[in-house]
Each structure stands twice: as C-alpha cells, then as structure tokens.
C-alpha cells in the first residue's frame, strides 16, 4: 500500500530499510483485480480480514440491540418475535462468519506458509476459491437476514426450523451450507501444506506451535464440517418436501437433528479456540523470550483436543430425550477434554516463569486470554456435570460460559495475533500506547458484560427471552451492568479498528523482526515479498530457540533482520530480479 519507494525514502534514517527490496506483496501489483484474482496467500489473508471484520460489525450491531432491549425488564424496544430474530442473527453472524473463519482465514492463511518456509499454500487457487465461497455463503445468509430474517436460534433446532418456521431458514441454511465448503477447503489446504510444503530442515518438531494448532483445527474442519453440511441439507429438503426424517409424523426423531448438529458444532467450538491457542503459544514464547515449556505436550494437546472434541457433543443434549446412560458417557468424556486444555494453560504459565516478559499489546491479550479462558473452561466443567447442567441449562450461565470461551478466548487471541503480526502484515507498527489502552478497555468491558451473566444465569434468568420479571430487582441491576460493559467493550473494539487503519498510512515502519521472534516469518522482510522468501530457507534451529539479545543476531543462518542466508538481496541475482 504505502510502503513504496517514496515512503521508504522518507524514513531513510533507518538503515535496514535500504537493505531490502521495496517490492513486496502489497505493492507488487496494483488495481482491484490484482486483489480479487490473487493467488497469494498473504493477500487472501487480507481479503479475509476485510470480510470477517464486516461480518463481525454486523454481529456486533445485533449484540448491541440485544443488550439495549435487556436494559429494562419490559420488552419495550422490540417484540419477542423481533428479539428471536435479533439473537439468531447475532449468533449466526458471529459463529459461522466471524469466529470460525477469523483466525484461520486471516492469520492462518497469512502465516502458515511463512512459518514453514513455503512460497505459498499447496493449492493457491483453492485458497482463493475458499474465500469466494465464504463471501457467497456470507452474502446469501446476509440477504436472508435482510429479507426478513430467521427466528430459530443459531442452532436451527427442529421443529423450530422445519415446518413450523415461516422465516428464511432455507436461504440462511443455504448460506451456511456453502460457507461450510469454504471451511473444508481451508482445512484441506492447511493439512496438505503442512505435510508437503515444509522447507528443508523444518521437521515436525521444529514447527511453530501455531502450525500444530492449525493442523488440529484443519482436522476438525475436514471431519466435522461435512456432517453439518448434510444436516442442513436434510433440513432444507425437509422444508422443501414438507416431510422429512426429523418429522415425528413419519416416526422421525427431532433429537437426531441435535446429535448431527452438535457432532459438528461442538468440535466447531474447538475450531474457534484452537487457532486462538495457536496465537497465544507464539505470543507467549515471543514476549517472554523463552521456548514454550513442554513443546511436545502443547503440540499433542492440540491433536488431543481435536480428537476428544468429537466425543463430547452429547453434553448439549442433557435435557433432551437423550438416554441418561449416554448422558453419563458424554459427561465423563467432557471432563477428559479439559485435560489437554489445562496442559496448554499450565505450560503457558510455566513458560512465563523467569521469562523476560514484555508488556507489549500482544502479551496483554495473551494474559487476558489465559485468565478468561480459564474461567470459560472451568465453567464448562460445571456444565459438563449432569446435575448442575440441568439446573442452569438454557440460562444466562451458559451464555456467559460460552462468551468467556469465544470472546474471552477467540476474540482476545484474534486481537493479540493481529497486533503481534500487524508489523509483518503491513510493514507498519501500530501505536503501542493506544493499543495497550484499548486492550485494557476491552478487558474491563468484557468482564463487566459477561461476569454479571453468570450470576443472572445462576439466579434463573433464561436465555433467549426479551423480557424478565420486574419483581426481581437484582436482575435488572445485573442487566444494566452487562449493557454498560457491552458499551465499554464496543468502544474498546472501535479503538483498534481506528488505529489499525491509521497505522497503515502513518505508523512508523516496522523492522523485519520487531519483537524479536524466532519463527521463519520474522526472518523475511516486513512486509514479505510475494513468494515470501528471497531464497528457500534451510532450517537448522529448533523452534523457539531464544538467546540473549546480543546473541540473537547470529542465530541460525540468518540474522533476525536480514535476509535468510545473510546475503544482500542485490547479490542474489535471478531470485529477486523476477519480482
């Protein structure tokens, strides 16, 4: 964008700038088609960034409407049928079009080839196709919301969604069905890229944990998403033919829908949280300047989460007609899945021990993630217990729990990751002071929004209601706190949006390795050239091989802010001339 020759010359005081070619992936081509037809994984990552932000804003607007309605006990802002649509739209937009694609789509696409030393994804065209599919699915669903909306809840449970709903369920379902294939193709690309495109010397146990976590995410995308695709297809067929396999009139069982839905949608929670854990592993290592404690445990815990995540879906069905015996089995396995998550939390904490901790913005988000994910995860164990779940099922306790995991986990990780790699993505630094301030605002706003909801839920406030009794004075107090917190959170999210855009033009230029980190992505210029590396890197060091700052300059074959083989690009001949 603005990292052209003129801008670089303007800050010519920085010596490193003159050493690098000023042609990078951002200014290699110009014009709208160079972006819309790009096969460069970095540009596709940015396309995802723009579209995901758009869907996040829509989902956020619906959240604002929900919080505004709940400010007072009476349903005075909207009718219950409108409210049904508003929370459904909030859920659909946030889950399917923000939380699931956000980190894999933006940071995963951008970073995985860089981290493993590849020129691109294994299938660049499929990568672009997956963005188009995502946009098609997103816009179709968005149209369904505009035409009149959906009132089934994001879970589309039958019979709410089958023949008893006269809203745009089929159209919204079509959008989500299409969007699923975007997820599948992204996962396919991640798996094949990790297997076949690693640079020489980049063994599996030298991979950054970011790649391990995304590999586990991709497994879930491949093996889970098709099941929701077929489920939604069957639901759509049921709506079109007016009978179907979930229809009790034929002897069908509506609970079968819940089984099939949660077979994907519970692992989908791990699609949301694993990439965030991927970011946190990188951020914690980089900003404490220590190798991750128990690398292989953290790596395998990602895979364990991916596998065990598929065995627990029945804990969403404790109050359905699911057999109590199946409930017991699902409950027990749900406790087991906490183990690999806890391994990660303990190992990040142990990594920080005696580390040289910096309090840069990414690390602040990592702190927030660890604390909030801990609360979110622990309350998940409450809900995995059969007895307690029946007490708080479908109350605000559940709402608070999954917002601690999804906002406290995924969104914190996403924001932390964006800050951590913003210098690499744009070649510019974000304003650190503002960013730290925004991180604090987000943290405070988040807790103020969602902690009262735990209390509300425990007191019995059900979810998905637009009104609540006036006779419960505490309820309104807590709801007012929650709405106030949501306002703070909204402001906290607007600040980064403003300074990120500002920094693209006015931020100071970023060095190749600002933090500094040890991954391959930090050993290529910021922003990277189109094919990522000036020469194919050869990896001779272990992951997270941190040294004292003065020693760092000589790690491996390349200095942190020099091209990978230490040679001046101008001496490289053909490789650079091509660009």
């Amino acid at each position: 964008m603005s990292t052209n020759t003129t801008a670089a010359a303007a800050t010519g005081t920085r010596e490193w700038r003159s050493r690098f070619p000023t042609v990078n992936y951002l200014n290699a081509d110009y014009g709208i088609w160079s972006w819309l037809l790009t096969k460069d994984h970095k540009r596709i990552g940015l396309l995802y960034l723009i579209s995901v932000s758009f869907f996040f804003a829509i989902g956020g607007a619906y959240a604002g409407a929900i919080r505004l309605e709940l400010l007072t006990p009476m349903g005075d802002l909207m009718q219950s049928s409108t409210y049904n649509k508003v929370f459904t739209h909030h859920g659909i937009m946030m889950v399917f079009f923000f939380l699931i694609p956000a980190i894999p789509g933006v940071l995963g696409n951008f970073l995985i080839p860089l981290m493993i030393g590849a020129k691109d994804m294994a299938f660049p065209k499929i990568n672009l196709l997956s963005w188009y599919i995502f946009m098609a699915g997103g816009l179709i669903t968005f149209c369904a919301l505009l035409f009149g909306g959906v009132d089934t809840g994001w879970t589309f449970y039958v019979p709410y969604s089958s023949n008893f709903s006269n809203t745009y369920v089929t159209l919204a379902g079509l959008g989500i069905f299409i969007n699923g294939f975007s997820s599948i193709l992204t996962g396919l690309n991640f798996i094949v890229t990790t297997h076949t495109m690693r640079a020489p010397g980049m063994t599996w146990f030298r991979l950054p944990l970011f790649v391990w976590s995304h590999y586990a995410t991709a497994l879930i995308m491949i093996l889970g998403t098709p099941v929701i695709a077929i489920t939604i297809l069957l639901l759509a067929l049921e709506r079109l033919s007016h009978v179907g396999i979930f229809d009790p009139a034929l002897g069908g069982d509506p609970v079968l829908f819940q089984h099939m839905f949660w077979f994907y949608s519970h692992p989908a929670v791990y699609i949301m949280i694993l990439p965030s854990m991927a970011v946190i592993s990188e951020v914690v290592a980089t900003h404490t300047r220590k190798p991750i404690f128990g690398y292989s445990f953290v790596a395998f815990s990602s895979l364990a989460i991916a596998v065990f995540g598929f065995l627990v879906w029945g804990h969403h069905l404790f109050v359905s007609s699911q057999s109590v015996y199946a409930g017991m089995i699902f409950s027990m396995i749900s406790f087991v899945v906490a183990i690999p998550s806890a391994v990660k939390v303990f190992n990040w904490t142990a990594t920080m021990y005696k580390g040289s901790i910096s309090y840069d913005t990414p690390m602040l988000y990592a702190f927030a993630f660890i604390g909030l994910f801990l609360i979110g995860g622990m309350t998940g164990l409450f809900l995995a217990a059969l007895g307690f779940d029946i007490h708080v099922h479908d109350t605000y306790f559940v709402v608070a729990h999954f917002h601690y995991v999804m906002v406290g986990g995924t969104v914190m990780g996403y924001l932390g990751g964006l800050h951590n790699w913003w210098p690499k993505i744009t070649g510019r630094m974000y304003p650190e002071g503002w960013a730290r301030f925004a991180a604090l605002v987000v943290f405070v706003g988040f807790n103020l929004t969602f902690f009262p909801q735990f209390l509300l839920g425990y007191m019995g406030m059900p979810r998905r209601y637009h009104a609540y009794p006036v006779g419960e004075p505490m309820w309104q107090v807590l709801h007012v706190m929650s709405t106030g917190g949501a306002t703070v959170l909204g402001i906290g999210l607007l600040i980064p949006a403003v300074y990120f855009i500002w920094s693209m033009r006015y931020g100071r230029f970023a060095p190749a390795n600002p933090w500094p980190g040890t991954g391959l992505e930090w050993r290529t210029p910021s922003p990277p050239p189109t094919e990522n590396f000036l020469v194919t890197p050869v990896v001779t060091w272990e992951a997270y091989e941190y040294r004292p700052i003065e020693e760092l300059q000589t790690i491996g074959p390349g200095e942190p802010d020099q091209p990978i083989d230490g040679q001046h690009p101008a001496n490289r001949g053909t490789e650079t001339e091509e660009r």
Partner: protein
Amino acid sequence: MSTHAEAIEHGHGPEAAHEALAHHFDNLEQQREAGALGMWVFIAQEVMFFGGLFLAYLIYRMKYPTAFMAASNHLNWKIGTFNTAVLITSSLTMALAVWATQTGRSRKTQVGLMAATLLLGFIFLGVKAYEYNEKYVDGLIPIAGWFDPVGHNVHIPAGVTTGQYQMFFWLYFAMTGLHALHMIIGAGILLPIMWMAWRGRFSPEYHSPVENFGLYWHFVDIIWIFLFPLLYLLGAHFGKGH
C-alpha cells in the same frame, strides 16, 4: 529432512521445466504428492458427508425394521444388481485409464478408457432415472401430497405405518440422489480431463488429474457398494410375493 533437501536439488533438474509444474512447488514429485494427499483429504470429507445419511438410515432402520424391509421390496433388486455391475465395470475402466497414463499408452487408449467410464456412468444414471420414474408411478415419491402408495394399489403390510414407509423412501431418495449427484459432478469433471488426454497432456511423468479423478470415481463406487445391499437387498428374503 535430507529427502526434502534432495528434492530441492531435483528442482534444478530437467523436470523443473515441465509445463505442468506450478510456480510454488519445487518439483513434480512434490506437486503430485500434494495433489494426491489433497484428494484423499477431500474423500475423508466426503465420507463424513455421506456419514450423516448413513447415521440417519441406521437409526431409523433400528427403530422400524419391519417397515424398512417391507418398503425395500418395492425396489427392484435385479435392476439394482445390474447397476452395481455397471458401476463396478466403470471403476475398472477408470483404473485402466489411470494405468494407461502411468504407462504412457497412446492417447486413443487413454481417451477410449475414459469414454467407456463416462458411458457406463451415464448408463447407471439412465437406469436410476428409470427407477425413479417407477417410484413416481407407484406414488412413492416422499414429498408431502405426492406420497400415496395406498391410492396406487401398493400393499402395505399390517403393523407398518405409511409414515414409516415414507421415511424409507425419503432416505432412499436422499441417499441415491446424493450419490447420483456425485456421479453427475464426476462426469462434469471427467470431460475436461478427457480433453486434456486428447491433447496429449498426460505422460508417465505427469498424470495427477487422471489419478485423482480415479480416486474420486472409485469412492463414489464404494458408496454404491454399501447403498446397494442396504437399500435393495434388505427385504429380498422377506417374502418374494411382493
């Protein structure tokens, strides 16, 4: 990872100049490996996609065994057997087409074998269309308002509800319909591959598209290998009088 280092060395060899090599791969071997792996991962996805249908079938089959057996008798097992043989034969011709490109046979052989595969695929689909029409004539299309076996003199045994009957046919149409859709998509992909073969693009060095399409076609065959006994043969012993 010395093999990768060697692979990089190969990248500067003569095969790096192959017209089919994409810019981001080091050599054709890496490209072929990535393509095959991608196809297998895609097939894993397909297995889970059909898995949802098999799950629904399994649950209702367990709940309503009698109804499913009785309804199954309305499917013509002779036609089903014929179609199974057709599909297996098309798998053979596809496997031979892959073999023909691997061993560098003439493009006529390659295209001929692919054309045979395509033709057998269309025969299968034609027979399927004939069967669907039979169901329509008997009032067994499981759409609300259309499903009327009693009105079409189809006998429903005692102890079985029309709804359970309809459930079987709903699943029958969903499963075979999705399978047929996969075959139609397969035919659509095979045509450009045939065109590439006709242009002589495939050789023992480069034939990934044929190979990967073969994997897909065999996968569709495997689905049918399960659908056939589950749907057609279920009730054959139940009483041949129907």
